[in-house]
Amino acid sequence: MEAGYNFAYLDEATKRMIRRAILKAVAIPGHQIPFGAREMPLPYGWGTGGIQVTASIIGPADTLKVIDQGADDTTNAISIRRFFARVADVATTERTEDASIIQTRHRIPEAPLREDQILVYQVPMPEPLFRLEPRIAETKRMHALADYGLMHTKLYEDIARLGRIGTAYNYPVMVNERYLMSPSPIPAFDNPKMDRMPALQLFGAGREKRIYAVPPYTPVRSLDFEDHPFRAIRAPHACTLCNSTASYLDEVVTDDQGGRVYVCSDTDFCRTEQERAA
């Protein structure tokens, strides 16, 4: 373990401050809790919020999995996994089922998560209304009054102009029928997995200094209209490696002649499917 630093890098007083914010966030599902985010040795935008949340909940007995774009082997996921191996000396894994904490950027694993697991999301912009109203003082008021007409109007205007909702990722959700929440930039395909998930879902935004949470089994509803129900979109293909037709796919450009193959973005899911078929 890295000498000269506390277990999991943050000092214990900071961890306590973050845990208090987490407890408050769990008590008010979907509500953003400001916290005194620290400056981390990784840049803002690389997952400093998720790292701080993970650092405050991780213990020596935990097994950590880190994914970026669903994959364990993307450079930033490797870098974060190495960081925790270095400062906390915890076991790391690439298997979803073996992890007690999964830190993620932009995806929810395909495999259903369990009660004894925690999913930590890295969040760039915690405020779901920021594109419609950039002033935080104003969006706070809107959340307090549950005044979400602006978002419904935006979705309606999309349908009126484009024939469908123009948001394909970071698709707004209503948590416990009270707070509008950003699910972080996961594809809308992943939104249904958040609903009544047995695992605790924690969201950390370092640069914006906000933490929020979805406790286990909490209803999470993607905003929609009766005549334009929410639809989870994926590329209409099978994975080239495991033949799954249910998983979220990455499109891989194979040549400059329009050649494409599609592979699972969740590398652990894809490997598991291939092993099962073998």
């Binding site: 400001p34 935008g45 970026d68 394909a168 990455d250 499109e251 973005s265």
Partner: protein
């Protein structure tokens, strides 16, 4: 047959090795020492200390060396170190009236107690490249001795305030904000705003300050005073109950004098824009003073019409470590999101046809 590319771990290690090699440059050229950076790149060190929000010349010099001279990267390194240090309290307000002056300029009075002291300034240099500097071993000319001032040099703002022409600032009873511990909240009080600006990016503040002079914020500033030099830092340990000096730091202070027409409760008077920066960051201190005054629009009952007057806009975007992180994170993989956009736009095009 498609095979997924692996090897991110090896790639990271290789990139780090390459980075270290690129940092060192041509091995035939002697390696730069941190002492050389500290002594000869003083303004770069000052800027890293200011934006890194940590007064330590040696560490700032090390950060500059490690960052290959990139100021923002160096400030980031210094901040990431600073955040691991224990916070044990806050210092007493600096008494800049008691500063050991190395430079002191007023644009509002030709002559004033304490006089004008140019100090080591670029102001009246002709910007002609000095090719003699390219040669090594240039002999140094002796610096003329300045007669030492015995008396403390009064601040210009105080001369105005005594006449009732300058608005007095109320000493705050409350503990000053610390944005490194508590997140920014709005309305932000003056201590939070000033801390934010003092840590903020020089270029951003320069542009904003400049905009207030060009009609975006209706500023009428005069440099009441700029002073640079060493000031004592005093701290009151709770177990002692009285202030002790814990060190001396070099700072640059700028007090801008601004016109104010008065309101229902306040008579016409001058108001202050305040800038204070570690080291010799004069440009930033001046820009900070302009922006500080612009941000006082709400409390002075002025219309908020310009970006520099909008506290959320200014304070949320001034921090270059935050800004560079979020701008540069766009180079991280976004293929999952992009894929969802691809499918969405393909579907929209089908609808449109």
């Amino acid at each position: 047959m498609y095979v997924a590319v692996k090897g991110g771990e090896a790639a990271i290690d290789a990139a780090h090795a390459w980075l270290a090699d690129a940092r060192r440059g041509d091995a035939a050229v002697p390696e730069l020492t941190t002492a050389q950076i500290e002594q000869q790149m003083t303004l770069a060190v000052d800027r890293v200390m200011a934006e890194g929000s940590c007064y330590d010349r040696g560490l700032a010099a090390l950060a500059l060396k490690q960052a290959r001279g990139d100021g923002i990267e160096a400030a980031f390194l210094l901040r990431a170190y600073r955040t691991t240090l224990t916070r044990f309290g806050h210092a007493a307000p600096l008494d800049t009236a008691a500063m050991g002056i190395t430079r002191r300029i007023s644009a509002t009075y030709k002559e004033l107690p304490g006089g004008q002291v140019l100090g080591p300034t670029f102001d009246y240099t002709h910007r002609l490249l000095d090719f003699a500097l390219a040669a090594e071993g240039v002999t140094r000319d002796a610096v003329p001795e300045r007669a030492a001032d015995e008396a403390a040099i009064p601040r210009v703002s105080e001369l105005l305030a005594r006449e009732g022409l300058m608005q007095r600032e109320e000493a705050a009873e409350a503990e000053p904000s610390d944005l490194t511990r508590e997140p920014l909240a709005f309305p932000a009080d003056r201590s939070a705003r000033l801390q934010n600006l003092a840590r903020g990016d020089e270029g951003f503040l320069l542009g904003l300050g400049y905009s207030t002079q060009r009609g975006y914020g209706n500023a009428h500033p005069f440099v009441g005073e700029i002073r640079q030099g060493g000031v004592m830092v005093e701290f009151t340990p709770p177990e002692l109950g009285f202030a002790i000096e814990i060190g001396e730091i070099d700072v640059t202070e700028c007090q801008m004098v601004n016109q104010f027409h008065g309101s229902l409760t306040e008579p016409p008077q001058f108001t202050r824009g305040y800038g204070l920066v570690f080291g010799s960051g004069e440009r930033k201190a001046m820009a900070m003073a302009l922006v500080d005054r612009a941000l006082r629009a709400a409390e002075l009952g002025e219309d908020i019409t310009a970006p520099a007057q909008d506290a959320e806009f200014v304070l949320y975007h001034s921090d270059n470590v935050e800004a560079t992180g979020f701008v540069e994170h766009l180079k991280l993989p976004h293929y999952v999101d992009f894929q969802s956009e691809l499918e969405n736009i393909r579907a929209m095009r089908r609808n449109a046809v």
